[in-house]
C-alpha cells in the first residue's frame, strides 16, 4: 500500500513511456500481424489508459520533478509534471486509447514485417509525445520533439511507393525541422546568457521586452510550423492524407496539440513578460488560419484533405483563444483571460476527440471501399450503419452544434469575446467584435463543410459503382470509435467537470480560475462568470430535445394510422434519375469557391458544346505555395548555382584560391 501511495504521477508516466518503448521493440521483433493487432496495440491502449489516469490524478496536485542520468553530461534529462503537462498528458492518453483500440482492428490485414515496423514507430511516436510534455530542459525537449517528428515522418511515409506520399513526407519533415531550428533559437534567446538550458533557468531569466518579443516570435514560428498556422500549414493537407488513417488521427488529434502546448509553455510559463501586441498578433493569425482552413476545407474533393484543412481551422480557433488570453492577461483582466484560456484548452481537448473520430471514420471508409475521392463515394449509411452513426456524432460535434462538445468550447470562446471588458486600446475594442464575427463565420462554415463531408460520404447513393463488398466495422473499430464518440458526447454534456479539470492549468497560467463561478449554480448549469450574464445547461437541453422527440413520436404514433408505402424517389417527377445527378463534392463546394474566388488559384477545364465526351475539371490550389515557398526555393537554387561556379574544375583555379587565401591571411596577421 505504501508503495502505491509513494508512487508519484510522474513515475507512473515514466513507467508508461518505458512500457510503450518496450511495446515498440516487441513489435519490431514479433512481426506477426495477429499478435501485433490482438496484443500489442490493445496493450498500448492500456498504457494510454494508465497515463490518462496518472495525469488526471496529478491535475491540480503538486508539481513533480525528476532528473534522469541521461542526456548531456552537463545537462541531464530534467522532467517536470505540472498541471499544464498533466492536462495535455490527459489529452494524449484519453485520445490515444481510442486510436490504439481502433488500430488493433484497422491494421489486421497489413503484412507482418510492415506492421511490425509501423507498430515500432507508432509507439515511439506516443512515447516521444509524452516526453515532450514532460521535458523540463531544452535538450530533452528538442530530443523528444524531433523524435516525435521523425517517427511521425516514417509513419507518414508508410506507403512510400506512392510518389505523393514521398513528397508529403519530405515537405512535412522539412518544415518540421525548420520549425525545430526556430524553437532551438528561441530557447537560446530565452536562457538569456546563462548558458544553462534548463527551463528552470529560463523561468528565472529576465528578458528585456525586445528579446522577449524575439523569443515569442521565434516560438510562434517554430511551434506554428508544427501546428499548421497559415502560412506554415502547407505540409498538413499533404501529410494527413498520405498517412494511414489512425496515424492521421494521431497527428491531427494529438500531435498538433504539442505545438499548442509549446506556445502556452513558452508564453505563459517560460517568458516572464508579455506584451499586448503578441495577443493581437496571435489573434489575427488565428483568425486568418481559421477562415483559410475552413474555406479550403469547403472546396476539397478528397475526404482526408478536407479533414486536414478542417484541422487547420480548429488550430486557428485555438490560436484565437490564446491570443485573447494573452491580451487580457496583459491588461490584467485575468478573469476573462482565464475564460479564454479555458475555452482554448477545452477546444484542444474536444478537437482531439472529434478529429480523431472523423479521421478514424475515414479510415474505415477507405478500408471498406478503397476510395478516398468524395466524388466516387456515397450512400455508405446503408452498408455501414454503425460507422455512419458514430461518424455523425463526430461531424455534428466538429460543426459546433449543441449539445455536443464542439459547441461548448465555441460558446465559451464567444463568451470571452462578448464579456471582454473595455480594453485601454480603442483599436482593440473595435477589433474584438470583428474578430468575434470572423470566428462565428468560420464556425458556421464548419457546419457547411461537415454537411458536405457527411452527406457526400454516407448519404445519397454511391456516385460511381456500388459498394456491395463494403462491410461494416469490426469490434475493435467499434470500440475505438465508440470511445471517442462517447468522449464527444460527455465532454459536451458535462462541461462543468471539464472546466474544473482545466482550472488548475488556468491558475498556473494566468492566476485565475473559472471553477468557483462556473460551479456556483451547481454542476448542471455552466455559468462562466455569473448566472445573470450567461448560462448554458447542455444536459437539460439534451433532455428537452430527447423528450420533445419522444413526445412527438408518441403523439404521432397515437393519432396517426401509420400506413406506409415504399416507392421510387419522386424528385419533382423527373424521369430516369441516376446517382450521377447528385451533387458531387466539387459541386457542393462550388458556391464557396465562387464567393471566395480570390483565395484560390482556380484552374477550370470546361467542356465545349461539341465535346464527344464532355469532361469538367476544376481544381483550386493554395496560392501560398506560389507566393511564399517557391520563391524561397528558387532563391536557394540561384545562390547554390552561384557558389557552384567556384568549383570550376581547373586545378589552376584551385591553386589560385589557396594562393590568394594564403596571401590574404598573411596580409591580415601582418
Amino acid at each position: 500500500m505504501t508503495v502505491v501511495t509513494s508512487l508519484l504521477p510522474i513515475d507512473v508516466t515514466l513507467g508508461v513511456i518505458a512500457y510503450w518503448l518496450l511495446l515498440a521493440f516487441a513489435g519490431l521483433l514479433l512481426q506477426n500481424t495477429r499478435t501485433l493487432t490482438r496484443v500489442i496495440f490493445p496493450a498500448g491502449a492500456g498504457g494510454a489508459l494508465v497515463l490518462a489516469a496518472a495525469a488526471l490524478s496529478s491535475l491540480g496536485g503538486p508539481v513533480n520533478v525528476a532528473v534522469l542520468p541521461l542526456g548531456l553530461p552537463d545537462l541531464p534529462f530534467h522532467l517536470r509534471m505540472d498541471s499544464l503537462s498533466a492536462f495535455f498528458m490527459l489529452l494524449l492518453g484519453a485520445a490515444s486509447i481510442g486510436i490504439s483500440l481502433y488500430s488493433a482492428g484497422y491494421f489486421r490485414d497489413y503484412a507482418g514485417n510492415k506492421l511490425g515496423l509501423l507498430c515500432f514507430e507508432y509507439h515511439i511516436f506516443l512515447a516521444s509525445m509524452a516526453l515532450v510534455f514532460l521535458a523540463d530542459d531544452a535538450y530533452l525537449f528538442m530530443v523528444a520533439w524531433e523524435a516525435m517528428a521523425l517517427s511521425s515522418y516514417f509513419l507518414v511515409t508508410t506507403n512510400h511507393n506512392i510518389p505523393d506520399t514521398r513528397r508529403a513526407g519530405f515537405i512535412y519533415l522539412l518544415i518540421a525541422h525548420v520549425g525545430a531550428i526556430a524553437i532551438l533559437m528561441s530557447f537560446g534567446v530565452m536562457q538569456g546568457g546563462h548558458g544553462d538550458y534548463t527551463f528552470a533557468t529560463m523561468r528565472s531569466a529576465h528578458l528585456t521586452e525586445f528579446w522577449a518579443s524575439v523569443t515569442f516570435l521565434l516560438a510562434l514560428f517554430g511551434f506554428g510550423a508544427k501546428a499548421g498556422i497559415v502560412p506554415l500549414h502547407v505540409w498538413l493537407p499533404e501529410a494527413h492524407p498520405a498517412a494511414p488513417s489512425p496515424i492521421s488521427a494521431m497527428m491531427s488529434g494529438i500531435m498538433l496539440k504539442t505545438a499548442i502546448y509549446g506556445i502556452l509553455r513558452v508564453t505563459f510559463d517560460l517568458i516572464d513578460v508579455q506584451l499586448w501586441w503578441w495577443g493581437v498578433l496571435a489573434l489575427t493569425l488565428g483568425l486568418i488560419t481559421a477562415l483559410f482552413g475552413v474555406i479550403f476545407a469547403a472546396v476539397q474533393t478528397d475526404m482526408k484533405r478536407l479533414l486536414a484543412y478542417s484541422s487547420i481551422e480548429n488550430i486557428g480557433i485555438i490560436l484565437v483563444g490564446i491570443g485573447l488570453a494573452i491580451t487580457f492577461h496583459v491588461f490584467h483582466k485575468d478573469a476573462v483571460a482565464a475564460l479564454a484560456l479555458t475555452a482554448t484548452l477545452y477546444h484542444a481537448l474536444n478537437h482531439a476527440f472529434m478529429k480523431g473520430l472523423l479521421f478514424l471514420g475515414t479510415g474505415s471508409v477507405l478500408h471498406a471501399t478503397g476510395e478516398r475521392k468524395l466524388g466516387k463515394l456515397g450512400g455508405l449509411i446503408h452498408p455501414m450503419p454503425k460507422l455512419a452513426l458514430l461518424v455523425l456524432v463526430g461531424a455534428l460535434a466538429i460543426a459546433g452544434l449543441p449539445p455536443l462538445n464542439g459547441f461548448v468550447s465555441e460558446w465559451l470562446m464567444l463568451q470571452a469575446f462578448l464579456l471582454s471588458p473595455g480594453l485601454p486600446h480603442s483599436y482593440l475594442n473595435m477589433l474584438i467584435p470583428i474578430a468575434a464575427a470572423a470566428l462565428v463565420l468560420a464556425s458556421a462554415l464548419a457546419g457547411y463543410v461537415m454537411v458536405k463531408f457527411y452527406g457526400v460520404i454516407f448519404l445519397g447513393q454511391p456516385r460511381e459503382g456500388k459498394f456491395e463488398d463494403a462491410h461494416d466495422i469490426g469490434i475493435w473499430e467499434r470500440l475505438g470509435l465508440g470511445w471517442l464518440a462517447l468522449g464527444c458526447i460527455l465532454l459536451g454534456i458535462f462541461p462543468v467537470f471539464v472546466i474544473l479539470l482545466i482550472d488548475p492549468v488556468t491558475q498556473l497560467m494566468v492566476g485565475h480560475t473559472l471553477g468557483n463561478s462556473a460551479a456556483q449554480t451547481g454542476w448542471l448549469w455552466l455559468t462562466p462568470l455569473e448566472p445573470g450574464r450567461a448560462s448554458y445547461s447542455p444536459l437539460i437541453l439534451f433532455l428537452i430535445i430527447i423528450v420533445g422527440v419522444i413526445f412527438t413520436m408518441l403523439a404521432v404514433k397515437k393519432f396517426y394510422h401509420g400506413r406506409l408505402r415504399h416507392g421510387p424517389a419522386w424528385d419533382c417527377g423527373f424521369p430516369e434519375q441516376t446517382a450521377r445527378m447528385q451533387d458531387t463534392a466539387e459541386g457542393f463546394g462550388q458556391p464557396i469557391r465562387q464567393i471566395f474566388e480570390p483565395f484560390f488559384g482556380v484552374t477550370r477545364i470546361v467542356p465545349t458544346p461539341f465535346d464527344k465526351h464532355p469532361h469538367y475539371r476544376g481544381e483550386s490550389r493554395d496560392r501560398i505555395w506560389d507566393y511564399a515557398y517557391l520563391p524561397i526555393a528558387s532563391i536557394t537554387e540561384k545562390l547554390s548555382a552561384l557558389i557552384g561556379r567556384l568549383q570550376h574544375g581547373r586545378i589552376h583555379i584551385y591553386l589560385l584560391y589557396s594562393f590568394l587565401t594564403l596571401l590574404a591571411l598573411l596580409a591580415f596577421v601582418r
Partner: protein, 482 residues
C-alpha cells in the same frame, strides 16, 4: 610499449600485404592486422586513462588524453572499415573493376595509411607529424586512382597537387615554429618536441608564430577540407573506392584537424590573443555555409556526402576556434560521432552503389524494398548526420550552437541557415534513394552491414547517454586544448 605495437602492427601489415596481397586471404589478413592495431590502441587507452599522459623513445612519441582518444577512434574505424572492405572489394573484383595487383596495392596501402595516421597522432615531433601527414597523402593518392578511370586519375592528381602544395605551406609553418623555438630551446632535437614547446609556448616570439600559424592553417586546413581550400575533397571522395572514402572523411580529416588544433594551442600560448581562434572560426563558418549551398546541387551520392564532410569539419573547426570547455568538448564529441556516422553512411552507400551499379542518385531507388538493411542504414545514417535527435550528432551540434548563441550570437543565423539548407538538400535526395520503387540487382557476396549498425548504435548511444568516464576523458582533453 603499446605505442610501438600500434605503429608496428600496421607497418608490418603493410609489408606483409605488399608481399601476399594477391592471396585469397588478403582481406582477412587486412582485417586481422587492423584488429590487432585496435587491440593495441585499446590497451594504450586503458593505460593512459589509468596513469595519465606518457612519452616514449626519448620523447619522440607521447600520448595525452587528446590524441589517445583520436588514436582509439582511428584504430576502431580503420578496423570496422577493413571489415566492410572485405566483401566490398570482393564484389568489386567480381564486377571486374579491379585486378589482383590492384587489390594487393589496395591492401598494403590501407595498412600503411593507417600507420601514417597513427604516426601523425602519436608523434611528439612536429616535423615528424608533418612527414606523416605528407605520407598519408602519398599513400592515399594511389588508392584514389585505384580504378584507373580518367575521372579517378583527375581526382587523384588534384588531390596530390593541392594537398602537396598545402602541406608544403605547413612545412614552412613548421620551420617557422622551429625558428622561433630554437631561440628558446636551443637548436637541435628538442625544439620541435610538442611536450617542450607546450611548456615554453608563452616565450615564443608572437610575430613569427602568427605567421607560422597562417602557414600551418592553410597547409593542414587544405587537408581538413576547409573552404576555399577544399576543392580536392569531393573529387577524391567520389572517385576513390568507397572504403577509402570512408577512412578519408572518417579519419584523415580528423587527423589533419588534430594538427591544426595542436598548432592553435601553441599560437594561443604565444600570442595570448584569440587570433588563431578567430581565424579558425572564420574558416569554419565559411566552410559550413559554402558546403551547405554546394550540397543542394549534387547528383553523385558520394560527392554529396563528401560535401557534408566539409560542412561538419567546418563545424568542428568552428567549435575548436570558439574554444572553452563546452565548445571543445562538443568539438571532440562531434569528431567522434561524425567519423562513426559518416563511415557508416559510406558503408551503406558503397553497397547501394554496387547494387545499382551507379553513383548517380536519380538512378538509385527504393533501397529498403530489396535490401532493407542497406536502405535503413542509409536512411538512419543520413538522418543522424543531419543532426536529428536522438543521435549523437545532434548532441554535439546542440552544444556547439548553444555555445555560439551564448558567446558569438551573430554566427548562429548563418550556422542554422546552413544546417537548414543542408537538411533540405541531403534529406530530399536520401528519401528518393531509400524509398519508392526499386532498381537493384542482388549482390554476389553478402554485404557486411554489421559495422553500419554498430556505428549507428554507438552514435545513438552518444546522443542519449554519454558515459561518465568518456565525459571525463573529453573534459581532460578539453582542458589540455583550452
Amino acid at each position: 610499449m603499446e605505442i610501438l605495437w600500434i605503429l608496428a602492427i600496421p607497418l608490418i601489415g603493410g609489408l606483409l600485404l605488399a608481399l601476399f596481397g594477391y592471396h585469397r586471404f588478403a582481406p582477412e589478413l587486412n582485417s586481422v592486422m587492423s584488429f590487432g592495431t585496435f587491440l593495441a590502441s585499446a590497451f594504450l587507452t586503458v593505460r593512459v586513462i589509468t596513469d595519465g599522459p606518457m612519452t616514449a623513445l626519448n620523447e619522440q612519441f607521447f600520448v595525452d588524453s587528446f590524441n589517445v582518444f583520436l588514436v582509439a577512434l582511428t584504430a576502431f574505424v580503420a578496423f570496422t572499415t577493413s571489415l566492410f572492405s572485405r566483401p566490398y572489394m570482393r564484389i568489386e573484383q567480381h564486377h571486374g573493376k579491379l585486378s589482383i595487383n590492384m587489390l594487393r596495392l589496395y591492401h598494403s596501402m590501407y595498412q600503411l595509411f593507417t600507420f601514417t595516421m597513427l604516426l601523425a597522432l602519436l608523434t611528439n615531433n612536429l616535423g615528424i607529424m608533418w612527414v606523416a601527414m605528407e605520407a598519408a597523402t602519398l599513400t592515399t593518392v594511389l588508392l584514389v586512382s585505384l580504378y584507373r578511370t580518367p575521372a579517378s586519375l583527375e581526382a587523384a592528381w588534384k588531390y596530390f597537387i593541392l594537398c602537396g602544395v598545402g602541406i608544403a605551406q605547413a612545412l614552412f609553418g613548421t620551420i617557422l615554429v622551429y625558428f622561433a623555438a630554437e631561440k628558446v630551446l636551443g637548436a637541435g632535437g628538442t625544439a620541435l618536441l610538442w611536450t617542450h614547446l607546450d611548456v615554453v609556448k608563452t616565450q615564443l616570439e608572437p610575430t613569427v608564430l602568427s605567421l607560422a600559424f597562417v602557414f600551418l592553417l592553410v597547409g593542414y586546413g587544405t587537408k581538413v577540407g576547409l573552404a576555399p581550400l577544399h576543392n580536392w575533397l569531393p573529387d577524391a571522395h567520389a572517385e576513390g573506392p568507397t572504403p577509402v572514402s570512408a577512412v578519408l572523411s572518417g579519419l584523415l580529416l580528423n587527423v589533419a584537424l588534430y594538427a591544426v588544433v595542436r598548432s592553435k594551442v601553441l599560437v594561443d600560448g604565444a600570442l595570448g590573443s584569440h587570433l588563431a581562434g578567430n581565424l579558425m572560426m572564420g574558416f569554419g563558418l565559411l566552410s559550413v555555409v559554402m558546403a551547405a549551398f554546394f550540397l543542394s546541387r549534387q547528383k553523385d551520392v558520394k560527392r554529396m556526402f563528401a560535401y557534408s564532410s566539409i560542412e561538419h569539419m567546418g563545424l568542428m573547426t568552428f567549435a575548436f576556434g570558439m574554444g572553452g570547455p563546452v565548445a571543445t568538448f562538443a568539438g571532440m564529441l562531434h569528431m567522434t560521432v561524425h567519423s562513426l556516422t559518416k563511415s557508416a553512411i559510406f558503408f551503406a552507400v558503397g553497397h547501394a552503389t554496387q547494387q545499382t551499379g551507379t553513383q548517380l542518385m536519380e538512378h538509385i531507388r527504393g533501397l529498403i524494398k530489396t535490401s532493407p538493411t542497406i536502405g535503413w542504414g542509409l536512411a538512419i545514417g543520413t538522418l543522424a548526420i543531419l543532426g536529428m535527435p536522438p543521435f549523437g550528432v545532434f548532441a554535439s551540434e546542440f552544444m556547439i550552437i548553444t555555445t555560439a548563441m551564448h558567446s558569438y550570437p551573430w554566427t548562429t543565423p548563418f550556422l542554422l541557415t546552413a544546417l537548414g539548407v543542408a537538411f533540405a538538400a541531403i534529406f530530399g535526395r536520401m528519401q528518393s534513394m531509400v524509398f519508392g520503387e526499386t532498381t537493384e540487382q542482388p549482390l554476389p557476396h553478402p554485404p557486411a552491414l554489421v559495422p553500419v549498425f554498430v556505428h549507428l548504435g554507438l552514435v545513438l548511444l552518444l546522443g542519449l547517454y554519454i558515459p561518465p568516464y568518456l565525459a571525463d576523458w573529453y573534459r581532460q582533453a578539453a582542458a589540455l586544448i583550452g
